[in-house]
Amino acid sequence: MKKQFLLGLVLLLVVCLSGVAFAQEVTLKVWLMKQAEVELIKAQEEALAEFQKLYPDINVEFTVFPYNEYRDKLLIAAAAGNPPDVSVVDQIWNPEFAAAGFIMPLDDYVAQSPNVKKEDYFSGAWESAIFQGKLYGIPFDVGVWALNYYNKDFFRNVGLDPEQPPVTWDEFYEMGSKMTSGEQWGTALYVGAGDAVQCITDALIFSNGGSVLDQNFRKCTLDQPPAVEALKYFKKLQGINPPGEVARTEEDSFQLFTAGKVGMFWYGEWGQDTVNARAPEMDWALANFPRPAEGESIGTFGGWNMVIYQNASQKDAAWKFVEFWTSKEINEKVSSLTPANIEAAQAFLNQKRRFPEIIFQQLATALYRPIFPRYPDLAEIQRNATTHILLDQKSVEEALKDATREIDTLLDEYYTTR
């Protein structure tokens, strides 16, 4: 009897104490990507201290993962019902996480927020977080595929003016063919296994006025003339590029560029530090992604959005953190890629990148990849079509027609089962 009484007392005490603790302090679990730069880790710590000064009752617990493990960890944790409260997700995972019910719409928070406004962020990044009319994430950082990195010596060697890089598709091809000999090439394409090649082919299609899916993301438009022409151009570039592009990854092509084997290379703005580290002697510059004679240079967005999980016990606190982390002042300091907040991006680019105006302009017009919860499957169909085209297994028209049919089936399958 005495024992039971004592036990009851202890239990009561525990409940009271933990109840008090909950009322006073909140602990937010936040998952981010691992950053290698010491400076950035320091900046994150400082920003966190600032947040805790603003909201002393909110504790933030960071857990970081390297890119390769990040998606698996998030999916396992979310599926097991034990996700973090807040995390960043790749733009192309955003619809998947939204459709699975892992993350919550943020429209109400945004409507009431004095700080988070749509127009403060790159529109392509903002729209990447919208799924079926609702906003599921706030853009954190961005990148654009692609800019044209070029080696000025290649231009000089063939009598071209290195200050006049190619603007149009035709100029890119012609200059590239001048640089192409048995030993060196105009550019290095890549397919590999990742999503980079889709970003490149999408950018070619966007620049040519086309799209991958229609406006409602319900029908594939890859068999339309803009896409067909874009892929025909991509195929043509095979002639000014070293063999092996299907097996090659963007990293391999990058190495060909820094080793001085190719004169031009399509890659995002974040590659600058790596070019400098691997080829400190190279006289390189950056130009906009080439456009068709009658088109506009439009790149493809990459980047990360901040999301709040349905299972988060303290959603208001989570929102406060998202608001803080994506604000101009903080976003600029804690991001390794270009910040998604436009003002922060300008400051960041001016401070950390060469050719900031070109990059900014390319970011401002960039478009996001198709919004579809099963995007990885869609991307694989696209990649297979690109591979068939480059390996001469199918004509461009045929490959894209097949891909369109497959993607339409995928879309139908997905939307009819909901």
């Binding site: 290698a36 890119y67 493990e69 698996d72 097991a80 990148g143 974040w270 790596t274």
Partner: protein
Amino acid sequence: MIKRQKTGKITIYLFAVLLAIFVLFPFVVMISMSLKAPDEQFTSPPYLIPKRPTLNNYLQVFGQGSMFAQYFINSLLVASISTLIVLGVAIFSSYGYARINFPGKNILFVLLLLSQLFPLAAIIVPLYRIMGNLKLIDTYLSLIISYLTFSVPVGVWLLRSFFLGVPRELEEAALIDGCTRFQAFWRIVIPLVRPGMGATSAYVFFLTWQEFMFALTFINSESKRTLPVGIFDFVGQYETNWGNLMAASILVCIPVFVIFFFIQKQLVGGLTEGAIKG
């Protein structure tokens, strides 16, 4: 005749050298890469010997912002404890399977081996839920327990063959001389299977040292990650820090090399010596 022997020897040497080159080449490239600055890593044509060798990659692996040293300690801890437990269980269990007759022995042994047929991916979800219910997610214990699921059967199975290799007569002689069964086991048999114990623990250590999937699934905190998971810190979303990655890979290999060197000596010398003198 002599000539024929000579050409035979030369061929053997030739193939041995070829094999060594084949096996060692990737490792040599790793070492070379780990000693190069980024601008020397991907040149065309490539070369093995760095023009300006640097230890920067190694310093960066242990430098500020890197958790490598912590990962190393974690791996060492988890692998050593798992190995000790496996060995403790396996010496008794495998002796039993080798020497003692008991009902259901064969079926139990087959079941033990059968557990090895399950792909790890199939048991990871139930294990995750069990660990979750036991509140063991994100603890070293979750790793050690799950490593036992696949390493105990391997350990028992490996060690059993070493016990079978010890002549029964030695034990019988010890019993006649007045030893109890346990004394015979402990004083006579165990010293004879020491090489087997070494080989088994080395094998179990390798298994757990390199385990990736459980380590990825059960551990969240950065401070508790093990090496196979942690080494991905050097692989970014877009670019990989090859110099650091290769330096870290070399460092990961070192304990394995050291253990193998040690075990190899035991393996060659141990078994026959003890048996003949005993």
